[in-house]
Symmetry: C2
Subunit: 429 residues, 2 copies
């Protein structure tokens, strides 16, 4: 790769997400040459992807060009490249745009959708982990209704108007809530010649509780909110199979739907080239300094890193550990460069929050749980201040305010139409 | 097509652009059943497409869902369908979503890019007539720079950083101006490790004047503005051929560039099914009532219609005639429904305006020509008030204000990467 020669140690960061962004901006560039690699030229604010998918925000308002963070930064190089392999023995990364040597490597590749080996589900269902996937999902939702208008076959029409969300974590709950708002406030006006009361939304959760990473109080509140909004809730159920028309559930029941949204799991975006002993449950095993087991000078942070805390599970795959580890690792590398010792990482849990709809959210703080309008305000505030750029903030807020007062979502656009993969015909010849 | 039966006469409108939108909203729905067909579910504000292509605006801020105009309108049906053929004898339109009968038909399909039969240019160059094309162009521009960073081959790097705009009409001039702003203000910060002074912009115009639909004064001012911004201007030249790497000009010269932007011509989006005598230079021949020659009850408006004025050319293919004809035809059909006579169309030329860059525009009013900052303000005002929806206005204005003060364009996103068609290898085997 075409990076200028330099006497400083070279730090290569793979991934400009929550964690990678922190490191890239906080490393001392008088001590290191910093090279940031990402397969996209933009940073994505992932917690709002579901709003892109449900026509609440434009894709460009939750993304921001990575190059703006480079502005006037010496010794900092961004390259748009997709890294597919690492050779830690010779300290090299291999990408679609050529190879690159490093002194320190930071893997901050985040996570990707986990279909748990279900090939059919992977083929027919839609995940929501990237901007392109969110745009596709928006198109699928709108196209289903546009298509429903053309059919006189009631069964097919219902199938087009049925939405199944696999996974009752924060993303699944937020999508269900947003879909129920579309059903209750927007689609009846958009499709006066369709009977929108026949639109049905199902959420399928593997355990006995929705958002089961949160407190019992919050998960009960979530259940009540969604029930009141008309969402059908299936607890202790798993999606077993899907053929593009029918969702098969492990309790023997099935739901006819062409819209299966998969938010039932993620896995670390591991890169090839490491021994199995360094990988655990699809994430890199790292020590308290985020160093990958058995690989001196290679670090992993965020979703792709599994840092064990004395007999407890690794940190959850959410934004907070990624951000905190990014900041901490930058500090540690800066210490190293000064010949000082690194400090072990300590996680501070700031709590968790999920939005369910208009004026409705649930919030768990370490010392308090609450719900309703106040939690909803807090959710808005947190997501607003965490957007990186002033343009994103103004545009997101503008959209939210207009939607709030107009009971409207103006971004119901099928800019890129989604080509649904049609189920294979099963009839005998 | 699944449209309810009704005793009223059925008006089918093909196309929800500037003209179609006017008719659809102004027809009396106590007299007509109105069916609006479009291949997109959104309305596009085409005059700002070039800003999407040059990273100044997000695609969603210049588009608006068509269904919002339906809200609470009785007897009004929108269907997302692509009409490919009309049978005027039996009064039927055929689309990818089925067929539909009409009493009155209004063709408002607008125009599409005209490559004048140049197959190679069509294959390798990028037009800019739709939102998807603008997104692709944005990706192409940004990808060219991202790719330039990886190459040590100076010739290839220059080729990636050279932009050729074929066509010096308003669109070509506006794109050239926007590209020169990227060169002068933005890319030097984005790509500190590229020598941006090597970026070159060429505009190729077939006649002796840029924007030759405007006054001599305005076209001289445009030339001066662009020259000062560093754009290379080729007058009285035509692009003869293009192989994806080299632009061949009819004066024997050539320009090495992987970025040829085609804004050199449009043609009416004619639909199959009519006699040749009704079509002239790729547009439907219409009388002063917008009725298509030889076809009672079939109307065409806007870019796809050629309305002759006593020995003068048909109206230009721009927004104004489309809007005025749309409003007028709606009035005429409403008159017909009351048993009254239709009134012939009269065009009112409000003048024309083109933007060249920061604080720079040219404006021709029927009684006055002017340029510079005031023209630029007028351009902004006109485009601002003509955006349909309040959300679009706020978001467009926010982007413009931030860009103006920050000398920045925040939408430099390659959300959907553009797969460049590579030139065929010509070496002997």
């Amino acid at each position: 790769m075409n990076i200028p020669e330099c006497n400083l140690k070279k730090v290569v960061i793979i991934g400009a997400g929550f964690g990678g962004y922190q490191i890239a901006t906080k490393l001392r560039r008088d001590k290191f040459q910093v090279v940031l690699l990402d397969k996209n030229n933009y940073y994505t604010f992932q917690p709002l992807l579901y709003q892109v998918a449900t026509a609440g925000l434009e894709p460009d308002s939750i993304t921001h060009p990575i190059r703006t963070i480079i502005k006037n930064k010496e010794n900092f190089y961004f390259r748009l490249a997709n890294v597919y392999r690492i050779d830690p023995k010779i300290k090299k990364v291999y990408s679609n745009m050529g190879d690159l040597s490093y002194d320190y490597l930071i893997i901050a590749t985040g996570s990707t959708t986990n279909f748990f080996g279900h090939k059919n589900i992977e083929r027919y269902a839609l995940p929501i982990k990237s901007v392109m996937e969110a745009i596709k999902l928006r198109s699928l939702i709108l196209q289903s209704f546009e298509t429903a208008l053309f059919t006189k076959d009631v069964k097919e029409r219902d199938r087009l108007m049925t939405f199944v969300i696999a996974g009752g974590g924060p993303t699944g709950v937020e999508i269900s809530g947003a879909l129920s708002e579309l059903k209750n406030f927007i689609f009846p006006k958009d499709y006066p010649d369709l009977d929108i009361s026949r639109m049905s939304i199902h959420i399928i959760q593997a355990t006995f509780r929705l958002v089961d990473g949160m407190s019992k109080a919050s998960s009960d509140a979530t259940l009540n909110y969604l029930k009141k909004s008309g969402v059908n809730i299936w607890l202790n159920c798993l999606v077993k199979d899907y053929d593009g028309n029918t969702v098969y559930i492990d309790n023997g029941q099935k739901i006819e739907s062409v819209n299966l949204i998969w938010s039932a799991g993620v896995k670390g975006s591991i890169i090839e080239g490491f021994e199995n002993v360094s990988i655990e449950e699809g994430r890199f095993r790292v020590d308290a300094y985020n160093m990958v087991k058995n690989y001196e000078g290679v670090f992993a942070i965020g979703d792709v890193a599994a840092m064990k805390r004395d007999n407890r599970n690794a940190y959850p795959m959410i934004a907070q550990p990624a951000i905190q580890q990014g900041i901490h690792l930058a500090k540690n590398l800066n210490l190293l460069a000064e010949g000082k010792e690194m400090i072990p990482f300590r996680y501070i849990d700031h709590g968790s929050i999920a939005i369910i709809g208009r004026n409705k959210a649930v919030c768990d703080l370490p010392w308090l749980q609450f719900k309703g309008f106040f939690a909803w305000l807090i959710w808005i505030y947190i997501h607003f201040i965490n957007l990186i750029h002033v343009r994103n903030r103004i545009i997101v807020l503008t959209n939210w305010i207009i939607q709030y007062y107009q009971y409207n979502k103006s971004i119901r656009l099928i800019i890129q139409s989604y080509k649904r993969i049609l189920p294979e015909k099963k009839e005998a010849q």
